[in-house]
Amino acid sequence: MSELSRLTIHAARDALAKGETTAADLTEACLTEIEGAGALNGFVHHTPEIARDQARAADARRGADAPALNGIPLGIKDLFCTKGVPSQAASRILSGFRPEYESTVTRKLFESGAVMLGKLNMDEFAMGSSNETSTYGDAVNPWRTDDRKLTPGGSSGGSASAVAADLCLAATGTDTGGSIRQPAAFTGITGIKPTYGRVSRWGIIAFASSLDQAGPMTKDVRDAAILLREMCGHDPLDSTSADLAVPDFEAALTGDIRGKTIGIPREYRMDGMPEEIEALWTRGREMLADAGARIVDISLPHTKYALPAYYVIAPAEASSNLARYDGVRFGHRAKLAQGDGIADMYEKTRAEGFGDEVQRRVMVGTYVLSAGFYDAYYNRARKVRTLIKRDFEQVFAEGVDAILTPATPSAAFGLGEMAHADPVQMYLNDVFTVTVNLAGLPGISVPAGLDGKGLPLGLQLIGRPWEEGDLLNTAYALERAAGFVAKPEKWW
């Protein structure tokens, strides 16, 4: 394992500043690791030429004025449109698609001096919790306990796997119902979903526009603060992008949380939750108390209805967003038979191009939006969403600064293990994370321990809107107290 690819962003930044390494060396180290990690199936489009060019440019601009991510090699989730580079949301329907434009997030990262190593595996259109719906095949978790291959989680499974396996220094992810935080927890890394509107969605292939947010997936909390700052900022190209100043999140990391109030929501204690998750949650509570925070029990009464509301709203928005894949403007078009009309072209193209889970969600979304059911399903779900957000507003108004919950209801499970379960069983993975998207809040997953088999487990902290700096600081205090340093043993 290369020492250079194991570095955090801040360690690499320091080493570059002192002249102890170069962007070119960092990049080569990562490219070598990626080449040897085919078994993880994390990187699905490799861009070594772009990476080497960007590294060379970064080395040329080193010095005191160098931008924040100068020479830092990153992996980019396949959901981000990158100019001239395949960007297909892990879907067959976008095979061959090479955007003519750059997403706002990747443009900002490149302007900050970052190096793109390639595109990362994910669930198709970010719909999944195990990376098993990808047209590229499963991404694999570098952590394992025996010969079984484990899921890195989803939908940002390739990002999580690549960061945990030290193939890159950090990666971008996106999170619609938990797609940054759940894979981060499954792989022992840190992942933050910022407040809705913090990061521009322009050029990120849309799943559910009112829930989607991009964020960093990193080796520690400090890196999350550094990378998040470079991803954030107002963008006129995204009408929901917030016109707010972006604070220096790293400067907020003092580790001092004395006097902060941390809420423990009783509704997150689920029936059948493994004892290890419960124990980890209790330990997290103790660690924050030891650091000087005040711990209070709180109630978020509509928690139980978050997943069902999500599985109306997200498919409804997806059915609308994915209507654009029609075989006309980009991507795959089915071969047509003699006499086939335009409706046959749409139907055959979408049947061939979309995988089973995407088809299912597009059709569920179509149903809940159809005449006669719109009020009963879609409008009702949007009303429940208002109530879920109100639950959070009430506890914040009572003085709660952050909320501590488990990140996932279990550790990583085996690939293929859920193949015969009904779709709802897979959806339950997001039970602790999905409320945060519905309420538009920032949430972070921090690795906090190992289960009895030696697999990582994460804790989630949920913050007030626009208070990512404060949230990251609480996460930093938790990270320091938890002292999670375990790494997967290399087998790939």
Binding site: S210, T240, D326, K348, M363, V364, K383
Partner: protein, 95 residues
């Protein structure tokens, strides 16, 4: 409420996804599982609650009504499966 194969076929058509006849029963079953899960929402008292339109209260930004982009025909057509003479080409739409 239970979805039959006829409804499943109608939804598939509305979504413009071709589903073969023999797959419809399984699809209807999956819909029923998911909708059964969603039915829980009926337990919630939503009387007088506004449906959420925007998670972050904000007024959409306005700008002057002027052309800000354009003249990119080549870039727009670049990824089309079938583009001819500056247009997207599709099967015959009108007789």
């Amino acid at each position: 409420m239970s979805i039959d194969t006829e409804t499943a076929a109608r939804v598939a058509h509305l979504a413009r996804i071709r589903v073969e006849e023999d797959r419809l029963p399984a699809l209807a079953q999956e819909f029923n599982t998911i909708l059964g899960f969603i039915e829980q929402l009926n337990e919630v008292d939503v009387e007088g609650v506004e449906p959420m339109t925007s998670v972050t209260p904000m007024r959409l930004k306005r700008r002057d009504d002027v052309v800000t982009d354009g003249g990119q025909q080549d870039a727009v057509l670049k990824n089309a499966p079938d583009a001819r003479e500056g247009f997207f080409a599709v099967p015959k739409v009108v007789e």
